[in-house]
Symmetry: C2
Subunit: 278 residues, 2 copies
């Protein structure tokens, strides 16, 4: 089976390296930065360069670009996919991808399923890509209502076959709503957190909790700007609601209200324990 | 050298287990929960029970209680320490401890230095204590202006001798200001973070960033209520300032202002990179 990958950054590069562990797949890859494509070829991360000439050999096409570039790529190439090819983007937002692609997929007869592999790191680019990034990671699939069950099964089997863990099927809207909280809000909070004037003095005054809270402050602002603006409503709602919750703690602290503060902290602890034990 | 430890929870228990790795120290310990004291004795975590009869044998006394109980313990026992004993509390706040203890120390002729070992975990209690919790951890010492240099040196050598890493000397006020940001704010944010209605749906939709942001949401609300209220001004200032910063992101997202949003994210990334590289 031939898999084509467009974009060989952290996600696309890791996907190529992951798939190449399994002999049943041939991997074609392309990055707009030719040095990256060349390095991936040299290192055996891809078997061949993906081009206009061999795109229609690909049974599965994975698009590992930023959101805007993903939609643009599909618009440009929607007539060139192999018949019955399964095309999947790997973006962290889904509604802004699957909506504009829907009519193209219907018109040109390729299967399109949004996919979000739930793994990443604070560094980006091919040089940080790893064949282990996705080991046992969850992946979320967002097919259309009309998507053929066989194509969903094919996507499911593909991710299982290369070592992913839990495979969830969701609507794009539900995906974006939950991801606004689990991933996007975490990046916003972490990035805003480090801007306290006290951050410059943290050495020797910080431990695990500080490291954990600020790890993803180091982010790729070009990519995350697109991801955030493509999920603006859900994310800004999460930010605003968090601020309202934080103010409750602040008020209780200023009022020296130990009963209220303890109650707030207890509620958070219990929710965390319940959420972890589901 | 004999070290007495009052309170054998996560911090006191870990301190006892840490010190017991070194033959030069004899460890006496006490926990108000007799089962814990008994278990610590059985497991060899302490050499003997610390009591009113042998407190004045201790060259170093470590008080690993909550803030209020720490001050109460010192008030009750300030006449019973060995002459020239070095007494240190291990609380996460310092002004509210060292201020009320100052006159007692001067009056009764014992050396008192606030100490904050910078390590912990989301679980509490003796059963989670570990001889490795403090390996290479920083510790912050907050002596008085009049504290004898020899006593600071003695504290320094003690923590070095049992495996701590960086040892910092600070004023209690500076300690509390920085800790409000590096530790207390992290716990408040994490605890407030998990209260989104989306938290119940995080399984399969979350990865490292969510895990990191919410790890310390599971906290001991009795202890943290005291710590927060003993540092109310610095902590509420940090919470309020974080909310102001978060609103900047929210506004940029609602305005679909990619230039502003990218700038905000870039600033956070750069501060994180600079703070890590100091």
């Amino acid at each position: 089976m031939t898999v084509g990958i467009i974009g060989l950054g952290l996600i696309g590069g890791s996907m190529a390296k992951t798939i190449k562990r399994y002999d049943k797949y041939k991997v074609l890859g392309f990055d707009k930065n030719y040095e990256v494509t060349h390095k991936a070829l040299d290192q055996g991360t891809i078997d061949d360069e993906l081009s206009d000439d061999n795109l229609n050999n690909c049974d599965i096409v994975l698009i590992a670009l930023y959101p805007q570039a993903t939609v643009e790529y599909i618009k440009r190439n929607c007539g060139c996919f192999k018949e019955n090819a399964l095309v999947m983007d790997l973006c962290g937002v889904k509604q802004s991808i699957v909506s504009p692609v829907e009519n193209l997929a219907l018109e040109h007869g390729f299967a399109f399923i949004g996919a979000h592999p739930m793994a990443g790191m604070e560094n980006s680019g091919y040089d940080f890509s790893s064949p282990c990034l996705f080991d046992k990671a969850p992946v979320i699939l967002t097919p259309y209502e009309w998507t053929n069950a066989n194509d969903i099964k094919k996507a499911h089997e593909f991710y299982k076959s290369i070592g992913f863990g839990q495979i969830n099927v969701s609507t794009a809207k539900e995906h974006d709503r939950i991801i606004a909280f689990t991933s996007q809000l975490a990046h916003v909070v972490s990035n805003a957190y480090v801007k306290s004037p006290a951050a410059g003095s943290h050495h020797g005054f910080s431990a695990g909790s500080y490291n954990d809270l600020t790890r993803v402050a180091k982010l790729n602002e070009d990519m995350w700007t697109q991801l955030f603006l493509n999920n603006a409503s859900a994310l800004s709602d999460e930010i605003d609601a968090l601020c309202v919750r934080l103010q409750e703690y602040s008020f209780a602290i200023k009022d020296n209200d130990d009963v209220k503060l303890k109650q707030l902290l207890k509620e958070g602890r219990e929710i965390k324990e319940q959420a972890d034990n589901v």
